[in-house]
Amino acid sequence: MGISTLLFLALTGSAGWAFSRKVRLIRAKINLGQPVDRQDRSGERWATMARVALGQSKMGAKPLPALLHLLVYVGFVLINIEVLEMLVDGIAGTHRFFQPYLGSVYTAALHFFEVLAFLVLAACVVFLTRRFVSRVPRLQHPDLAGFPQKDATTILVVEVVLMGALLLMNAAEAALPGGTTYVISGFLVPLLSGLSESSLHAVVTGAWWFHWVGILAFLNYLPYSKHFHIVLAFPNTYYSKLTPKGQLDSMPSVTHEVKAMLDPSYAPPAGDAPARFGAKDVVDLHWVNLLNAYTCTECGRCTEACPANQTGKKLSPRRIMMATRDRLENYQPEDGLSLLDHGISREELWACTTCNACTEACPIGIDPLDIIVQMRQYIVMEESGAPHGLNAMMTNLENNGAPWPFAQADKGRWAQELN
């Protein structure tokens, strides 16, 4: 086994190990969440995943980013076939392992991959332009100050560089005697014309290694980034809510208590009272909320559609997801912090109209509203901390069965006013 094969195996093996370790850590974080049954209706769930994640069906609401994303997405998936060959080459110490077996099919595939690589590169450049030149408001937004904006930039720049390395490698090979010229990298060949044969070999090897190490580094960066959506988009859409958007789930533990109040002979089943009603911290949320937080692409389509945000309120559904992820990443039991007040303020929570514009806008089936409602439940049921107007409404409801100070006894009075 040559030294380069050893190096390859060592690098690839440790990168794979580090990645799987981080993935397991994230899995454990997500499992800190409360149980929720999303194992039902599996046929519909597979169909949702196929449509929304695989088929990108909700991206189309914005045609330009949808097209750009489709290029990156399809390019990434197909170019991975070539990455597979790199893996084989690295292990076997070969170069272009499949070429002798596939002949002209191989050449055709490489032309095709080059076109894809170019489209990915171009799409990423346009993505960067939208962020920093045309400054699309949802991509230049206070939510993204600091790491999130750097994160987005890193991903796009790395994609450009990786695709560039791939094309450069092919160009250097084409410049060698007897080399095949491919459709895109052919344009780069003149740039390399002054180089000696040995320099060209060095460029090929260098670009190959650069690309491979880049892939490994990128793989390990993924789980720290919004870019992890490329993996989590699939489970996230699978486990997304299938019931009508307007339906908020019932709390069975409350049902038992209320039934016992209404009927003293009712015996609630023992031992199912939750530690607390609603959510104060990330671990009070259910695991799909936490999966949602790790999946969010920070695209801001939800915030752009949010009526509260549009009218200048502090609430931003994207920030709800980002704050949940940040808190979960740093969560320690009993650390004196919590999602409520430290990550998300009450002012944000009370500004929500529960209009579902955010859940409609999200292209990956994320539900910020569910988190908002659970946090309101904590504030109201554990702290009686609702804003004044709501307390008045609830007092009326308790006393007269109506949110206003009118007696339920008069509920049919309008019918007498008809004639």
């Binding site: 009508p244 019932s250 009526p307 309120k313 109209t353 309101r376 709501l390 409404m393 609830m394």
Partner: protein, 264 residues
């Protein structure tokens, strides 16, 4: 004005050993709010005119609990819900119709888990069926040339995917239908949902109802139509904000149909 109309309660039906075809769930706004009561009355007249045998629960109808639930008070919500379900189930009621999308959503989606299983319709869906079956006929001429823009209530639209029934009913008026840029699943909230109706808005640049009314007024409509008593209040306040209340009417779909038929 329509002819005299006596509305019977479910209890009265039960005492006579009968069950109505449908129970009209009037909701709190529809029973107590002066503006919303007009919608309730208009819809009752339309039911009567169509020969639908319907009843109300009257004093036996409690709040569905929607505002408590959205405010985060699951206890209070379930107190209301379980009491309502007990009443409805005791009478053996199967179908409900309501002119409030919030009641509609709660009854339809949130009562089943608590033991309340009913066929629930929003009044625009019910009106569409009455029109389709020919039980209700509308004279279109009155609204000729009138520009009507429909505002999608969140709890009918996005929450329950009903965008077409209200539009189909409005089409019977033969007015000139306009669409806002943000409509159907992209519709902008009026600002009332999630119990916002009962509290002061958080600090911001603008009130949501003003933003929404501004969008509707930009189309220079004669009528802003909606299917929710809360949207109605919010958009009416919006027209007042722009001093347009004299030029633009905010009306429920039931009121428009009733007006076409000289029922109100």
């Amino acid at each position: 004005m329509g002819d005299t109309l006596t509305i019977r309660t479910v209890a009265e039906f039960a005492a006579a050993g009968e069950l109505p075809e449908v129970v009209f769930w009037t909701g709190c706004a529809g029973s107590f709010d002066d503006r919303a009561k007009k919608i309730t009355k208009a819809f009752a007249r339309l039911l009567h005119k169509s020969g639908v045998s319907f009843a109300i629960l009257g004093s036996e109808e409690g709040c569905t609990g929607d505002p408590a639930k959205r405010a985060g008070n699951e206890f209070l919500f379930q107190m209301q819900a379980l009491q309502n379900i007990e009443v409805l189930n005791a009478y053996g009621i199967q179908s409900l119709v309501t002119a409030c999308p919030h009641c509609f959503n709660t009854l339809k989606n949130e009562y089943p888990a608590l033991g309340g299983h009913y066929s629930v319709k929003h009044h625009t869906q019910f009106l569409q069926e009455l029109l389709q079956s020919g039980r209700l006929r509308v004279e279109g001429g009155k609204f000729e040339g009138k520009k009507i823009v429909y505002h999608d209530p969140c709890y009918l639209g996005r929450a329950n995917g009903e965008y077409e029934a209200p539009r189909a009913v409005l089409a019977a008026l033969e007015g000139e239908m306009l669409e806002m840029k943000r409509s159907r699943k992209n519709g902008l909230c009026c600002g009332a949902g999630g119990a916002q109706m009962f509290k002061e808005p958080e600090p911001g640049r603008q009130d949501i109802n003003v933003a929404r009314t501004e969008e509707a007024l930009a189309l220079q409509p004669d009528i802003i139509a909606t299917g929710c008593p809360f949207c109605n209040t919010m958009l009416t306040d919006g027209t007042k904000h722009f001093q347009q209340e004299g030029n633009v009417e905010v009306l429920d779909i039931a009121e428009l149909i009733a007006r076409a038929d000289d029922l109100v």
